[in-house]
């Protein structure tokens, strides 16, 4: 059991490409930390550097009290589960699970006991004599988990372990992983590009992009209080709607004039920073579930009604995504609502925008900071330079942690 401290970690490849740009991260003891981000964001490279499979170009990694920069993977006391399982194809399930213990010269009876226990935990008792090729994808991933579990390492590292499984198996394995973590109480670092896995598994989430950390926080905080527009767009399905327009103030009421559309009142819970950000070229971020068909659901006091034209409807069974056009706004907005009410493309419907959970971003591109952050965690420099892209590594990128 150990925490993992990463400071100023850099990975520079021979071809000049910098995959990780000096990140700082503290993964606490017993914590399930998820590194999430799009392809090429540096999450897997970071994990591989923790494992010792990639050389570190700069910075430091410590597991427990020990700096492990130049320690061989086998001496780091970690276990890793790979995306493609990486089971030894010429060894049986038992041999796969026992291999690490055998290398540590553990007595055979002890190995047998540990493998049997892991096999029981993962429902693999009847598969021990089989070769990996005789197993299904889900069983193979369980064996890979078992191989990691028997070692009882200080930390588990997972490199997109569920991405090769179908949706149903993924759901089952997510549940098993969470159960396993509750039972083992070991530090786990989990890399994924799937934000559902990140939200459901992580005690905390580290959102990464372009080799930098964008936000580190609990899933709820990341969802409700994204640090910048990138985080807001990456977490949540369908993605947050971004509506461009101008922010103005009429005494106590803040108004948002949608480009090519109506002007709506903003009723955010946290709007203390709005006063400093009035003007053109702002972006209102509002999640699809905060839009509703007026009249079909009770209207919140903070809601503003606008008329919108139904463009496309995606039926998901229990709910549907309705793509709407608000006036002449260039991009459609998505409304997540019950599929029990019938709507037709081309129909104009009244829509309530509940702005109590909305965010206002500076119109500074993909990494524009959130201007309505409740804790006032945005540094003054970022607010001053509203159009400048805001990226970590800056001191606040990892100090905003509000994990459990």
């Amino acid at each position: 059991m150990a925490d993992i401290r990463i400071s100023k970690l850099v990975k520079l490849y021979d071809n000049g490409y910098t995959a990780v740009k000096g990140i700082d991260l503290h993964i606490r003891d017993h914590e399930f930390m998820v590194l999430v981000g799009p392809s090429g964001c540096g999450k897997t490279t970071t994990l591989r550097m923790i494992a010792g499979l990639e050389d570190i170009s700069g910075g430091e990694i410590a597991i427990g009290d020990r700096v492990v920069n130049s320690v061989e993977p086998k001496d780091r006391d970690i276990a890793m589960v790979f995306q493609n399982y990486a089971l030894y194809p010429h060894m049986t399930v038992y041999e796969n699970m026992a291999y690490g213990l055998k290398l540590r010269k553990m007595p055979k009876p002890e190995i047998d006991a540990k493998v049997a226990e892991a096999a029981r935990m993962l429902s693999l008792e009847s598969q021990l004599a089989k070769l990996p090729k005789a197993l299904s994808g889900g069983q193979r991933q369980r064996v890979a988990l078992g191989r990691a579990v028997v070692r009882q390492p200080k930390a588990f590292l997972f490199d997109e372990p569920l991405s090769n499984l179908d949706a149903k198996l993924r759901g089952e394995m997510r549940f098993e992983l969470k159960t396993l973590q509750n039972r083992l109480k070991t530090t786990m670092v989990y890399v994924t590009h799937d934000q559902i896995e990140a939200m459901t598994l992580g005690d905390r989430i580290t959102v990464m992009s372009v080799g930098e950390i964008q936000q580190v926080a609990s899933p709820t905080v990341v969802y409700d209080h994204p640090f910048n527009r990138f985080v807001a767009s990456f977490i949540g399905t369908p993605v947050m709607n971004f509506i461009t327009g101008a922010l103005s103030r009429d005494e106590d009421l803040f108004r948002f004039a949608i480009d090519g559309g109506a002007t709506i009142g903003l009723h955010m819970h946290h709007r203390q920073r709005l006063a400093a950000t009035l003007g053109e070229g702002r972006v209102l971020g509002i999640r699809p579930e905060n839009l509703s068909h007026a009249g079909h659901v009770a209207t919140a006091a903070s809601a503003t009604r606008v008329d919108a034209k139904v463009d496309v409807i995606e039926n998901m069974g229990d709910h549907q995504y309705v793509y709407l056009r608000i006036g002449g706004h260039p991009d459609p907005v998505v409304m997540k609502c019950s599929s029990h009410h019938r709507r037709e493309p081309g129909e104009t419907i009244p829509v309530n925008l509940d702005t109590s959970f909305a965010h206002v971003f500076a119109d500074g591109g993909e990494y524009a900071p959130t201007l309505t952050d409740p804790a006032g965690r945005i540094p003054a420099s970022a607010v001053g330079a509203l159009t400048a892209p805001c990226r970590s590594p800056e001191p606040w990128s990892t100090s905003v942690n509000t994990g459990r």
Partner: protein, 265 residues
Amino acid sequence: MFSFDMPEGLTFDDVLLLPAEADFLPHEADVSAALTRQIRLMWSNYETVLTDPNVKMTLFAWNSLFIAVCVVALQVLTCSLAAFAFSRIEWPGRDTIFLLYLGTLMVPGAVTMIPNYLLLQQFGWLNSFFGLIIPAAASAYGTFMLRQYMLTLPKGLEEAARIDGAGLLRVWWDIVLPLCKPAIITLAIFTFSSAWGAFTWPLIIAPDESVRVLPVALKNFSGSQSTAYTLLMAASLIMMLPMLILFIFGQKYFVKGIQLGGVKG
């Protein structure tokens, strides 16, 4: 302008037959006897070849087998280690050195024969098994073939083993070698076939009877005055047998080997 005057008394047919007749002249008796005799299967020739104390086929067969087995074992060992270093370990100049090593395939054996002979003479390895085995203990072709195969193995397996606690040699022995079994069998078959049939090098380096190999021994059936064709044929067939058996059981690996690294040079 080319002109040819036919000697008196010779026909055009005689001219065509002349080289053949000239060649056969010293062996006229043999040839005529062979052509006129009825051909029968004589099992006794096999018996003579195998048991006659003057022929010593068993000794030569054991020599050949011993050398071939040693060469196979050493080549599998050295080629797989070299291939592992060239495919799975990162080190400066790796690919350049591999290309240089591969380049040695283009040097004909005849060019290196005399320097190698002189070298072995200095080592005192003439007429010894060392001289027959050690120069064949490594091969650029074998290294190339195994390297190509190793490059196809998923890197994750090696990484998983390293995290499980394996060092480089452990990874090679426990993971890479077992997974390279098809390529190793192919290499073993090719190497065995080439070591078993080697003639020129053993003839030069080890003419002594104690270390003589089968292909060189077969030459003994052909003297300056006559050739014991019957015994030569029987001995040749006996020599072919191991290769035939090897081919029957390993033909799929022969095919795989050709696919893996091209035809052995």
